[in-house]
Subunit: 505 residues, 2 copies
């Protein structure tokens, strides 16, 4: 590479490092566009070229990140007198540099090869309800991931090291404590909900809701919520996702013609992710200060909009007329009917991605407990189906009849992504904490939602969360945003209050 | 970069060079997707991120290409015993390496900055009919481009060096000879056409043709022509273009609701470009052997499909019923009416991109003569409007009233693209030569077109042109494909025959 080594001192090293990091962002965002294209617009046959393009970009990104110069700059800057934003930039780049240099290239490649091999095996095993076919691959991936964790820190719990890849600053003890509180609070709450025996109808069941109508409604709702179409898009893909940065943030969704509510809430969820990207400071683009914090914070933004806005009574009072008029075939459902339908709890559901707002977290707790024991060597891969089913029975009172609907349902382990699942629930917990404080700070937030006024909420989230980029670690960002440490209190209070009222507990 | 220098000898150097070049292709094709996205799908606000992405990719591409290792490998391979395809790979990479290393980085950047500055000035000057506002920028770009040519070869005609950037192997003498023959043959032919005073009506004039209907027709015709939708797309953009490779080749078009024929022929033109990419060998992807030859060959493929197929009587006999049925508002135009309408000659047209199949080349000859004299220093920039208008009068008997419709109409000079224009006509000439030989080799090609059978023509073009990638230089490829040297004979014969018949000359 053409960059020259710097010897004059800290400030120059900082500028050089920052300039160098912009190129890494350039490569990363270019790859983001290519992956979006692959899932949204690329013709089927394009895979071989796309593979070369993406592997070239990721290879170069790794080479740029691990260049000797980067180590030299970081070394120089270790004792430099930096202001807090500069220090944050150095902290974030150092963390990436350390991870990239600590793990040998051959191990990274072995994991990449193994996950490529494991993906189709998982797909087949899921189709065949055959855990034993997938198990050896999980076994191998666990071995590789343990080795990976050992390279990073041989003295720490390897699962804690893996968790750091998805949530680097909110340590595993915190995660474990929060997930434990969710389990302890939600298992009895769900029991009460089940016992209450309240039937909530889905006013859309039995109808047909053309994808075009659903798309028109999604676009209209995104506009109402304040989506900036000059910096964003909505498309369809087989799995909804969000991709982009502060200049160009793209949502995807998918439509089920038998049921329009799930696409709508999924779109609002992705909108939450997109607003985070769009709220990042434009003048810090290319720096960690212009990049999003990790998965917990990201998921807090999607869940806040999906659950605290999109599943609120006020929101359905706002949108019910439009929803009714969009679907010729729709029943004359009231706002209250729609509010109740979007908040129905169904503990007999076996599938995480179809779960309701309460049982979802027990799906996560189960996976967390299993993968933590797998990585620790306390659980044998062959035992996963039995333990999975026992825990489903224990937490949700329901037992999968097949592994297809049980321990084979998720793609994550075929990716070797051990430690990812917890961030979903951690994000929901943070969403409740942030929403509580936003509601405390803003004048009649519920009334604003009912009136379709979202500017103040956007402004609050941008000011307290988005604009900071990665300046703060996750725990510090939470303190900065809410004035207190990360806590599950608000989520549990919200859940008990909302579902207590809904189910007359 | 992580590549290691090689010292063991030619074969290893070849493998290393080829592997290294794959990464350059990966970067180039990634940038291609980003540019496609920018013109087709990117939200307006995405420009700042896209600029960083693209400048990062082009910077890295330059660095990879000019790495010391590349020079060392090329040096080793200079006297190595290589088979012809290997020798071609080395020839092609050497040429790129030489150009990239001969021109100082600061000059490349100065040209890039100057063209960025000149583009909006040209847009404004064109809007204001104000050549004098644009002239200093042209002057500066000429100076920079002369300097650029001097770095590459101080002993050659600088315009010949610039021409090489677009058409490296078909030297300027050949281009000049061919363009001279076009001028000498077409000026009198167009005079005769004008004198014949034959009126050809456009059966579509006065109607309205909704973009959706035009798009449906374009898609249907592309399918009939054999477009492989599993490896391609059709979208709209403000300027039609084609982008991609043998796995993923994307066409764009635009629709004018007052006139459906131009979009249709433009789509067929881009289809020709796309078939070239799709015919390149898949197993050579990432090597010059899997890459397209330069602009003349590319344009020969688009013009062959646009003119020799899309403007043929047989084609209109095939598609007239569908065209009529697609447009409710269309008159009951016969195949012959449509054939005649798509071949109407209108010498009073001032705009190159709207020109017919004959006058088009005089627009090119004019630009070629002007830019050659500008680069040579034989023509002052201030004199361009006067000379332009005189030549329009001389060649086409028509004189622009404004520079907006004259020397300010094209974007190319604001890009500093001196030497590009000739390749348009050179491609048409080659299209006629290739089509002549395809028709000689194939059984009743006209009948096949009339029957909607295009497989044999595709197969002929793939076998004689596409599959060779860059194995041959352009002149050698022409000999390989047709058994004879590049010649304007077939184009002139085709033009005189077709338009002689149409205009009763």
């Amino acid at each position: 590479m053409a960059t020259e080594s710097v010897t004059e001192g800290a400030p120059d090293a900082f500028e050089d490092l920052a300039e160098h990091y912009r190129r890494i962002t350039g490569l990363e965002d270019a790859a983001g566009v290519l992956r979006w294209d692959q899932q949204v617009t690329m013709p089927e046959g394009g895979t071989p070229a796309r593979s070369l393009e993406l592997s070239t970009l990721s290879g170069l990104q790794h080479e740029l990140l691990t260049e000797e110069d980067v180590g030299d700059w970081l070394h120089e800057l270790a004792d430099a007198d930096l202001d807090p934003p500069e220090a944050a930039v150095v902290r974030e780049i150092r963390r990436e540099y350390d991870r990239a240099t600590q793990v040998p290239r051959r191990l990274v490649e072995a994991i990449s090869t193994k996950t490529s091999d494991a993906l189709p095996v998982w797909e087949q095993a899921k189709a065949d309800d055959d855990w034993d076919a997938f198990a050896p691959h999980v076994e191998e991936l666990i071995g590789l991931k343990r080795e990976y964790a050992e390279h990073i820190d041989p003295d720490r719990d390897p699962y804690a090291v893996l968790f750091d890849d998805y949530e680097p600053y909110l340590d595993l003890d915190t995660a474990e404590r929060v997930l434990g509180r969710l389990r302890d609070a939600l298992v009895p709450l769900i029991d009460e909900v089940s016992a209450a025996d309240v039937e909530i109808e889905n006013p859309f069941s039995g109808g047909t809701y053309p994808a075009d109508d659903q798309e028109a409604l999604s676009r209209s709702l995104l506009s109402s919520l304040g989506f900036d179409w000059e910096r964003g898009r909505l498309d369809t893909s087989s799995h909804p996702f969000t991709s982009g940065n502060q200049f160009d943030s793209r949502i995807t969704t998918r439509f089920d013609e038998s049921e329009p509510i799930s696409a709508l809430l999924s779109t609002i969820h992705e909108f939450g992710h997109a607003t985070y990207a769009l709220g990042l400071p434009q003048d810090q683009y290319g720096s960690p200060l212009g990049d999003d914090r990790d998965l917990t914070v990201h998921e807090s933004q999607s869940r806040l909009w999906e659950n605290h806005v999109g599943r609120s009574r006020a929101f359905w009072e706002l949108v019910a007329p439009e929803v009714r008029s969009q679907f010729d075939a729709a029943p004359t459902a009231s706002a209250e009917d729609l509010y109740r339908a979007t908040n129905r709890i169904y503990p007999d559901n076996l599938i995480r991605v179809e779960a309701d707002e309460l049982t979802y977290h027990l799906h996560i707790v189960l996976r967390f407990e299993l993968e933590r024991d797998l990585i620790a060597g306390d659980l044998d891969v062959a035992e996963v189906p039995a333990v999975w089913n026992e825990k489903m029975e224990e937490y949700l009172g329901v037992r999968p009849e097949t592994d297809t609907e049980g321990c084979l349902q998720d793609i994550h382990w075929s990716h070797g992504s051990f430690g990812y699942f917890p961030t979903y629930s951690l994000g929901s917990v943070l969403a409740a904490q942030l929403y509580h404080h936003a509601a405390a700070d803003l004048d009649d937030l519920e009334g604003q939602i009912r009136a379709g006024e979202f500017d103040a909420l956007h402004e609050w989230l941008t000011r307290h969360v988005h604009r900071h980029g990665r300046q703060y670690t996750t725990p510090d960002l939470i303190v900065e945003a809410t004035g207190e440490a990360y806590t599950a209190d608000y989520f549990i209070e919200y859940a008990e209050e909302k579902f207590g009222a809904l189910y007359g507990l």
